[in-house]
């Protein structure tokens, strides 16, 4: 078991703990025989809190055991460090692209935000072929609009002001 599992477990314990405190504030019993709104969440969160503590204890025990057995194994090579950095960079770019997409969509509409997102996301994934970069945003956006906005009549976001006027030209 790795040391880096201890921190997430602590976060999980804190999360369940905070939710448990919040659940205590919910009404417990309303009338005879009724459990009230708080009973079930308290039961679930208390169980989750206790199990998370058990998980932390098991992690700590295994971490101690592993540290005694192989104390020098934890140094990472520079290649692994670069790989980790690149992985984090690609993940961060993907998350930023998706976040930007969903935040922009209500303002500039589905069509424009999807065009931008498709281009940015495939670029972030490492795609460098110009033809794919040029065609795919229009292809993916076009097909999505035809299937969902035209055929199924889903009211995809149109955006505001000038963007709404632009979206209305399409769907």
């Amino acid at each position: 078991m790795k040391k880096n599992e201890i921190v997430p477990t602590l976060i999980i314990i804190a999360f369940f703990g905070l939710m448990l405190i919040h659940a205590m504030g919910l009404r417990f019993v309303k009338r005879f025989g009724e459990m009230g709104s708080g009973f079930w969440p308290i039961l679930i969160l208390a169980a989750a809190f206790l199990l998370s503590i058990l998980l932390l204890i098991s992690h700590l025990i295994k971490f101690q055991r592993e540290r005694k057995q192989a104390p020098e194994e934890r140094s990472t090579s520079s290649e692994e460090g670069i790989d980790l950095k690149n992985r984090r960079k690609r993940l961060a770019l993907s998350v930023v692209c998706l976040l930007g997409y969903i935040l922009l969509m209500p303002w500039i509409g589905f069509v424009l935000s999807t065009l931008l997102y498709v281009f940015a996301f495939i670029l972030a994934l490492g795609e460098r072929r110009r033809l794919i970069l040029a065609i795919s945003p229009f292809l993916v956006t076009g097909l999505t609009v035809i299937v969902f906005a035209k055929l199924i009549l889903m009211p995809l976001p149109r955006g505001v002001d000038i963007f709404a006027a632009f979206s209305r030209l399409i769907y």
Binding site: M1, I44, V95, P106, V118, R129, I132, T144
Partner: protein, 496 residues
């Protein structure tokens, strides 16, 4: 009875009814396969077009869409890892794992044959034992439902992979998610923190798309571009058909799962999702290789597919015999009955045997037609798989976004999907199994409501849960189901 069947068969082979079977099946496959358009929504969208049709043609197209929807949910589940329907989650876990191992065509054959087999089994049961199942289902009150949901939740140890403790925490997290929103009994807001986004609770599809599909795209996005494996290896379905011996080896699962599916489908409000999870969990519990579950277990895929399709016949059984909907989709079908001036229930069989027997035969034919229609559906969806990796993954992400938006035409669901995508990413990174969280989310609400109703019924006495035979048996079975794998698991898996 025989003459009713002969009449129904001669009517179903009329050109308009055959066309209705094909169109309904294809529409259902599409609705089931696309996230955001559920089977029930597919049936609802189709209902207005049936106004001008004869009642039998109308029900032919609707039941065909219903069967197609339940089947279609598994196509995108296997190929792209996106559950089209909540009942397809076990299929995502096992079927998509097989697809990623280069066995997509094999997984598709297993899904197809088991789906059709499960569907046909339930139709025959529906024809033969309609009154029997309906009477059994009527004995289910809140305590029995609580027992049933506990049995459903007890499969968590089978879904946990390496660590039961992490599986239990994941399941409790899912149950906690199900408590978010307005309390159905008292109207109290729970864990909404003053925001409107969480008032209506967390939808299954939003959470599932985020936890399963978005998180996987994020995991794949981390990989260097050359090694990116967003799509699955698929060469063709020819030559990939599973051997008869494989089905023989899993005969017990192939016998148990359709029975579980049909019985669960016949319970009001239970439906395909609970059926699929229960059969999947039972397969995990009784498997000789439980460590394979979560990594492409064929028996898990078989169990889930047999059960979710078998639930259609069960749901239709109580709809036709009692007028009670067994699932969301059959609730929509009640509206279709009303539109055509019919009232589903005990009197329907006597008053309009042509409709009831016609529906029996239509469901039988729909399942047979789906064998061919699904292959067409698979070919259509496989076109996405031919795209370059980068375009493929972005197309899947947009499908997820549109699917989440389509639930209530609201941006809030997309924001929640994004959040669940991140949660799913970290759950995968730290080896927390996702399936138990989805299971908890799906069953949590029913478990809470049935327990609270039970205690209201008994004026707070919990002994009612063990004093009624069916609930006592179900609770005992769920305790056994939790404890059994702990003792049966190989030593290597008992680590945490």
């Amino acid at each position: 009875m025989l003459e009713h069947y002969l009449t129904a068969f001669s009517t179903i082979f009329l050109p308009q009814n055959l066309l209705a079977l094909c169109l309904g099946g294809l529409w259902g496959l599409m609705a089931g396969a696309l996230p955001g358009i559920s089977t029930s929504m597919g049936v609802v969208l189709l209902t207005p077009f049936t106004y001008s049709m004869s009642p039998l043609t109308a029900f032919t197209i609707l039941v065909s869409a219903y069967c197609g929807g339940i089947t279609g949910g598994s196509i995108t589940s296997i190929l792209f890892g996106i559950p089209g329907e909540p009942s397809s989650v076990p299929t995502v876990i096992e079927g998509h794992s097989l697809a990623k191992q280069g066995r997509a065509a094999y997984a598709l054959w297993v899904f197809l044959l088991c789906s059709i087999g499960g569907g046909l089994f339930s139709v025959f049961v529906m024809m033969a034992a309609t009154p029997l199942i309906a009477n059994f289902a009527l004995q289910f009150g809140p305590p029995e439902y609580f027992g049933l949901t506990m049995l459903g939740l007890s499969v968590v140890s089978g879904l946990s992979g390496g660590s039961v403790l992490k599986g239990l925490i994941s399941c409790l997290f899912g149950i906690f998610l199900a408590t978010i929103g307005t309390d159905g009994i008292t109207g109290v807001e729970r864990f909404t923190f003053g925001t409107t986004i969480l008032l209506g609770g967390i939808s299954f599809i939003t959470a599932m798309v985020g936890l399963l599909a978005v998180s996987e795209i994020l995991i794949e996005a981390e990989e260097p571009f050359q090694q990116y494996k967003g799509s699955v290896d698929y060469k063709g379905m020819r030559g990939e058909m599973p051997r008869v011996s494989e089905f023989k080896r899993h005969w017990l699962i192939l016998t148990k799962s359709p029975i579980i599916g049909t019985v669960i489908g016949a319970l009001p409000g239970a439906g395909a999702t609970i059926a699929a999870f229960l059969a999947y969990g039972e397969a995990a519990r009784s498997s000789k290789n439980p460590e394979k579950f979560g990594h492409g277990a064929v028996d898990g895929l078989m169990a889930a597919e047999c059960a979710n399709n078998a639930s259609t016949g069960g749901s239709m059984t109580i709809l036709l015999s009692l007028g009670i909907p067994g699932s969301n989709t059959t609730a929509m079908l009640i509206a279709a009955f009303m539109i055509h001036g019919l009232q589903p229930g005990p009197l329907l069989l006597g008053q309009r045997p042509d409709i009831v027997y016609g529906i029996f035969v239509a469901m039988l034919m729909a399942n047979l037609f789906l064998l061919g229609l699904t292959i067409i559906g698979i070919r259509l969806f496989l076109q996405l798989n031919r795209l370059p990796y980068s375009v493929f993954s972005v197309a899947i992400m947009i499908l997820c976004v549109v699917g989440a938006f389509g639930l209530s035409n609201n941006m809030d669901d997309i924001y929640l999907m994004f959040l669940f995508g991140l949660i799913g990413y970290y759950m995968r990174k730290y080896s927390f199994p996702i399936a138990p969280a989805v299971l908890g989310l799906v069953l949590g609400n029913l478990a809470e409501l049935s327990l609270r109703r039970t205690l209201l019924l008994s004026l707070g006495d919990p002994l009612i849960l063990i004093s009624r035979p069916i609930s006592a048996i179900l609770l005992a079975a769920s305790i056994f189901s939790i404890l059994y794998p702990l003792f049966k698991r190989p030593k290597a898996l008992k680590s945490v």
